[in-house]
Amino acid sequence: MAERVAIVAVAQTKYAACRADVNEEELAYEAIKQVLDETGVTLSEIGSAVTCSQDFWDGRTISSMNIQHVVGAHLSHEDNISEDGLNAVYAAMAQILSGHHDLILLEAHTKESQADKSLIENAALDPIFMRQLGLDFTSAAAMQAKRYMYKYGITPEQCAKVVVRNRANARNNPLAQEPLDLTVDDVLGSRMVISPIRLLDMKPISDGACAMIMASESRAKKLTKKPVWILGAYNSYEAHYLGDRDLADCDALTQAAKKAYSMAGIGNPVKELDVAEISTEYSYQEPLWLEGLGFCDRGQGGKLVESGTVKMGGRLPLNPSGGVLAGNPNGVAGMARVIEATLQLRGEAGDRQVKRAKTALAHGYTGMCGQHQAVMILGNM
């Protein structure tokens, strides 16, 4: 890449189980106002807005109309990405590198509390062969969990440790929805929702929004002393039909990670990355995604998640923010990972700061059993 792309400012609302007090527009504006105030940029200066929302979650056709005032889209460019929020960052990156825009406002929001999650997810399944069975993403995820545990001997205890660590990390994040002091037994004793997934193996229903400002290198240097650079990014699709792939593996993530590392010049991710923020709605996904990300060999994810490597203070701290398991909405989750990575690289992560963080990974996924995987590498040098 000739010109570099910078993240100039980031903001999130506090994540909450229910924000009935605001509509989507007001929720989004809570985050947007912060990035505008921080940079002094006005909405009139924004050349392009890249937003991320889903008509199904908003309950509105053309859901980007919900937030077009607060992103300043009147007589200006707006694109809406209907995939996880990390892909909106990717789209904005391309717009900047193409030379068409040098200052972009990004926004993602979802109010999960206002809708029926299972019905929405069910509508994503192939209507001829799968939708009538009444599957949703959690019942499909439970099959992925079962397959993964069976094939590689991953244990419920290892998955429970993922929950304990993430929820504990969330205690250092003032915006986290549900920081909790848990034991492995608490997790293993929680209600069985869809076997083998228990209540505490899942992320809670969550409402929230986040916003970012991105800019070209030259523009960024005028707006911030602490630009964070996007060093690499890639994403990839898996097959949709549940029987078409071995659910215990995640080839799309392997592919996305490899390409993102190669763009960023990373040979050994565990050595060269300082912190990683990954999206896991269910506890089993953390070891599985770590394998996909190449942090360990296939089947070794279970050992890695209980090792010291991924703890705060370890070689590669994972999800200092508490991650999605502590509560982030669909669609917002991936952009929130980029934002948390950015805060780490700016040294602004407060009590969850990883010392001397220079290179970070953010991961997001969309769809059933991680069908669409996206990886981004960020750096502050």
Binding site: A20, V22, N23, E26, L43, S44, Q114, Q132
Partner: protein
Amino acid sequence: MAKEPEYIRIAYKAPRPYDWSTGKYLGKVYAEAKENKKLVGNRCPKCQYIWLPPTPVCPKCKVDMGWDWAELPQTGTVYQYTYLVYPLWDPHYGEKWANPYPSATILLDNGTFYRHFLEEKDREKLKEGMRVQAVWKEDYNERGQGVQDILYFRTIEE
């Protein structure tokens, strides 16, 4: 001619429920309508335009609107109107539905544009420029549905 094979189609009839929030800006409109039968909008500190529905950011000036409310006149002039000839499927009602009242763009007497329905159903009597006034639901308990608390705009003689 070859017989067309039997093609299967799979039907779904599943309403998706939502709990949509007004938020505080639109909530103010709901409150004023219910309590005082007043129509309110919020005023842009820069262009002074009163927006309906209200918004946190002036769409045109792109500045924070603050919390400056103005009551709007309930009389105005029909700027444009149209009416539905065939019932259309309404996803919120979940049925085919033709609003019996013509839909109009009304220029309220302060200069704010507002869309609502007209009481006058006789197409011969509809005309641009006709003067109209809001008619509210009189029962307090039936109000609480925002601008739907206004039944329609009635033709007035002046």
